[in-house]
Symmetry: C2
Subunit: 321 residues, 2 copies
């Protein structure tokens, strides 16, 4: 299989043009302290400053803008308890469409409130994958809405690819780009952008040990789903999909895993030193660097900082918090 | 008195040139959400991204670079439990000088560690102003070091003025600039930069109700020190000085005060919506906007976000935190 035939260079460039009027061109941050620490030049592409606080706004906007008007009049739909739910609700509102969001009944109040804030219409279900899928199927049947999957969707992947595209455009001669991996939408998009626009560059993914399905799948070269992973990096609990996995297998150079302790330490380090709010998932590549799992000495290293949506009432380093 | 004769336009421009190689030109952030909320164009000058995490790096660097070599060989000194202690330690290290820092014995471990990290040499004293001053006097006598006051010092003020200078340089046609006020170093510097470089602009200061000495002094047109204010905005507990007060009286257009509750609410709002870490002092001008204390509708408004040094183990909105 050659997946470069499915999402072409032009698809990513078109996605960038399409979503540009709506999304933020997020800043690239650098820090001399961090460069000294790692003996490397580190460039943080800050998608925590993206609309809805995460890169997910890119893919959702691209997918919604590629949905035809008749379909949009019936709405879009997904099941998600995380950033994609907010992103799709927000993107649908841009084109005066409706977003039907299936969320598990145990979703945090903050996430429910955020989806409602962006105008999403929520249907609660049991907190199992089966219930999520059957509930979504009912919604699709009843409303005629179009399903927009959080990551196993070429339009979503092309949208997520634009974060790395902007980074490559802004920072010359990167040696490697790091991204976290959950379902693989961001990672496969990043890998495609590096393939097309930074052909000498490498892509390394970082994943929580407790949700190491991408590492397992990559190592065994077959899709191995995760089993209810309990990692604090809630954006990375999903398993790779049938579309994201082959792209990752083909275009990603390596996957490393990190402990929960390292994730929390890295997250806190970023908050304290860089003064930016990042969610646990975003700290995963940084944790890999702090643990010395990727050899970056003397290199120019891009990191996709995926998002900044954190429940500020419950921080992992504060007991009772 | 005409204080424009003491700190001239050229002093601020020279300070900017002098400190530029060492400090960060901090970014100016904007947010459509916030602009919509306030029906105004808001520009946040993010000194939380400054060296040592606060604007204090500007003044300290300017003062240290203006100290002659013989004096520098003996070191610089101050009493401070806050950002100035870190800033002076850091600035002294730039020129291979020593910083003698007098800190109250009840200073937080984090602040003590930060000062040590930057190479400052700490002498602890009783947590009273008298003990701080007598201990510092002893240090000065013993070492021959030069005292660099946190705010009541023209070189410090000219340094702090460069934050507003950069903001005015980057964002055209600002109507008003807001800054927090503690000892008045940042505020008097900001007011001078507006006077010289944005002559049609206004300057409004924001202060905690619980540390309202600047408001009282401004309103009564005489220096009224604060009495052990307990505000959470720990950077703003100091009283105006003999040099900062006359500048403020002459060049500041208004001072408003905000409650502790508003400060915490504004701080949390900034963290949640802008994904940046700001310290309570930095949230004070924003709190004034949220409380409707400054009429900004339709205006172009700059805010100096003073710093981002927060004890992440103890957040004001988390009980037991």
């Amino acid at each position: 299989m050659n997946f470069s035939t499915q999402i072409q260079q032009v698809d990513i460039l078109d996605a960038a043009k399409r979503i540009n009027p709506f999304i933020n061109r997020t800043p690239v941050l650098t820090s001399q302290t961090i460069n000294r620490l790692f003996q490397a030049d580190i460039f943080l592409k800050c998608e925590n400053f993206q609309k809805v606080g995460a890169f997910k706004a890119r893919g959702a906007t691209n997918a919604v803008l590629l949905t035809d008007k008749v379909q949009l009049s019936l709405g879009v739909a997904t099941h998600s308890s995380g950033n994609h739910a907010q992103a799709l609700s927000w993107a649908a509102s841009l084109v005066n469409s409706k977003a039907f969001i299936v969320m598990p009944s145990n979703s945090s109040k903050i996430k429910v409130a955020a989806v409602k804030d962006y105008g999403g219409m929520i249907t609660f279900c049991e907190p199992t994958l089966e219930s999520r899928e059957t509930t979504l199927a009912e919604i699709l049947k009843k409303t005629g809405a179009s399903e927009i999957h959080p990551y196993n969707n070429e339009q979503i992947i092309a949208g997520q690819a634009t974060a790395a595209l902007e980074l490559i455009d802004e920072v010359h001669d990167l040696d490697v780009i790091l991204a976290p991996v959950g379902g693989g939408g961001l990672l496969s998009g990043t890998a495609l952008s590096v393939h097309y626009f930074l052909p000498d560059g490498k892509v390394i993914a970082a994943e929580p040990e407790m949700a190491n399905d991408a590492w397992l799948s990559f190592t065994n070269r077959k899709l191995i789903p995760s089993m209810n992973p309990g990692t604090i990096a809630d954006g990375l609990r999903t398993s790779l999909g049938s579309i994201t996995f082959p792209i990752i297998l083909r275009f990603v150079d390596g996957i490393v895993t990190v402990s929960e302790e390292s994730i929390v330490k890295a997250m806190r380090f970023i908050w304290e030193r860089l003064k930016i709010i990042v969610e646990p998932s975003s700290a995963v590549p940084f944790a890999a660097l702090m643990d010395g799992k990727v050899d970056i000495a003397g290199k120019r290293v891009g990191i996709i900082v995926s998002g900044g949506n954190v429940d500020l009432d419950h921080l992992p380093w504060i007991k009772n918090g």
